[in-house]
Amino acid sequence: MALVSAGRPLTRTVLALCGTAGIAGLGFLAALHFSRVPPASLDRQGAAPPARIVVITTGIVDDLGAMGLLDRVVGVSARCRLPGTADKVQIANDFGAGTVNVEAVMSLHPDLFIAEQRFRSALAASGIPGHFVPDDMSWEDLPGVIEDLGRAVQEPERAQALVERMESQAAGLAAAVAGLPPVRVYFEYGAPGESIGSGTIVDSMIRLAGGSSISAGTSLIRPVLSNEAIVKADPEVIVLSPFTESEAEALRRPGWSAISAVRDGRVHKLSFEERGVMLYSWRCVDDAARRFLPWFHPEVADRGK
């Protein structure tokens, strides 16, 4: 049981530790070095406005379309199914919460990349100039976002025109429903019972059009209401988004036959093309005027015609 030599195990241990620290240290230094490497800027720095824009946020595509700049957009999100974008390259993948293949974006040689804030770090390494919009836009944010957009694409006048159009439409709506008692509205977003919380664009549109969402009390984005709660709140109008059940299926839910909206035949389903109120763009107020107003206050809409 005598040790072969007292030094041997100790030197082996020391060597092992040094070797380990050395290898790990090398890895650390290499990563540190590369993290300091700045991305080569691919900014054209030219005076001309960007002519190849990749836009991930669907709402922004809509705004650019309204500004007549759709021809400058070369890449969109795969979830974007707006008219006129069928020929664009689809970048962000559909199945998943929306990741972006950065290299695919770069392969389009864009001048500008527009997306939500959370893509900022992913895009930084590419060197492409990026314009980032807030992750969550509320109705109040929209005019500012469109104005910033106008500056980014170097078309401030068109942006201004769009903002003015939006604001006048909103003012018109507000005037039309001024003084009228708000109509109780249940807006179903996706799964049965899944509604929208206050602060979302849909909620703002409901209020603009003279309605009041029955789930407005909560600050959750997608509060889930139990069937009982819906029946108890007794909405006067029910709007089903394109992502939820069909009207026929919804009407079969227990207790729904007693709801005022069902009795009065005021249950409406938005088709996919009609989902403007849900978009983060100028179209929300446009669709609010076109769809919500006649549904909530038919007497006003008729009068307006």
Partner: protein, 349 residues
């Protein structure tokens, strides 16, 4: 014997030669990954970009190629190597520790804890760095928690570890669901879902400053436990009679596995099947002894994930497949094949 040679062709290779062979193949896979992508960069330009290092002075490499190779592909490949190696080794250690061929890094609750750490941090609106940090901290902490909870009478029995790990995982999973439901901002919810989905699509060099040395340290530390893992895999009675302090060894192995899992998951999210399939595949090549199995698992895991990541970002351009989907789609048939072709598990049940 011919049949044994067929079963595990490199059963008698020395660990050093396995490291060498594995390293070369991993290097080849990495270079392949660096040359593939949406932006076409010729291999010569890839090489110049790498050789040029940080300088942008190389005339033949355009700024775009420089960015693509050094700042987009290279961190992805390095991250895939580290995450793959880490998960492979963690899975290997856990299969020995729990004497269960179905054990994987996600059985001990570390990844669920990492998820909870990340979504909590997102809920609180903390920065990306803090999100990484909190998911890492919680995953490591859960390792210690499982050890502490599973301990009974000075001993750390296997069954207790399994049950405790499973319960801890369920707990954190439930808490994560609660946090997801409680978010009040759409963007946060999307961010959380994105994180749980996993993937290396937005990896930058910053997290690698911790991932690379951390993974290397943990892998080398795991190598030190090769003999203990062999003994643990024999089962309780045999391990003890041969002189193993089972309690201390189990605790150390569990914490080390949790650390490796924490490092991997905090950077890449939850990538399924790597930790489960890779050790079995490694066993088919080098046999059961951990002196060879650990390095084989590390390199196989690294190679597997680099290839999976390359496929994920080039197979369906311009879309990018989630990495977890690719590993599952490749991993499941592979796993079934491995089980059918070789009946010998090599891990004492």
């Amino acid at each position: 014997m011919g049949s044994e040679a067929r079963e595990a062709p490199w059963r008698s290779a020395s660990p050093a030669s396995i490291v060498l062979a594995g390293g070369l193949v991993a290097l080849a896979a990495a270079l392949g990954g660096l040359c593939a992508g949406a932006v076409s960069v010729s291999p010569a330009h890839v090489w110049s970009a790498l050789a040029g290092g940080s300088g942008q002075g190389s005339a033949s490499v355009t700024p775009m190629e420089h960015n693509v190779v050094l700042l987009i592909r290279l961190p992805r490949v390095v991250a895939a190597l580290c995450v793959g190696a880490g998960l492979g080794v963690a899975g290997c250690m856990l299969q020995a520790l729990l004497c269960n061929p179905l054990a994987s890094p996600f059985v001990i609750g570390a990844s669920a804890a990492a998820g909870f750490g990340a979504v909590s941090s997102i809920l609180l609106g903390l920065s990306y760095v803090l999100t990484l940090g909190s998911s890492f901290a919680l995953a490591t902490g859960s390792g210690f928690l499982v050890v502490a909870l599973a301990r009974g009478g000075g001993r750390l029995p296997r069954e207790s570890l399994v049950l405790t790990g499973f319960s801890v995982g369920l707990l954190f999973g439930a808490l994560t669901g609660l946090v997801e439901y409680a978010t009040t901002e759409e963007a946060q919810l999307r961010e959380m879902v994105l994180w749980m989905l996993g993937g290396l699509w937005r990896i930058t060099w910053d997290p690698l400053i911790v991932l690379v040395p951390g993974t290397l340290l943990c892998l080398l530390a795991a190598a030190r436990f090769s003999r203990e893992l062999d003994l643990l895999a024999l089962g309780e009675d045999d391990a003890v009679r041969l002189g193993l302090d089972a309690t201390r060894a189990r605790a150390a192995v569990l914490v080390l596995s949790a650390l490796l899992t924490a490092l991997a998951v905090s950077v890449s999210g939850v990538i399924a099947f790597v930790g489960l399939v890779v050790p079995h595949l490694a066993r088919r090549f080098v046999g059961v002894t951990h002196g060879r199995l650990l390095p084989a698992s590390a390199f196989l895991g690294a190679i597997f994930l680099v290839i999976a990541d390359t496929v994920a970002r080039t197979a369906f351009l311009p879309n990018e497949l989630p990495l977890g989907v690719v590993t599952s789609l490749v991993g499941i048939p592979f796993f079934l094949w491995v089980q059918r072709a070789g009946r010998r598990g090599g891990v004492a049940a």
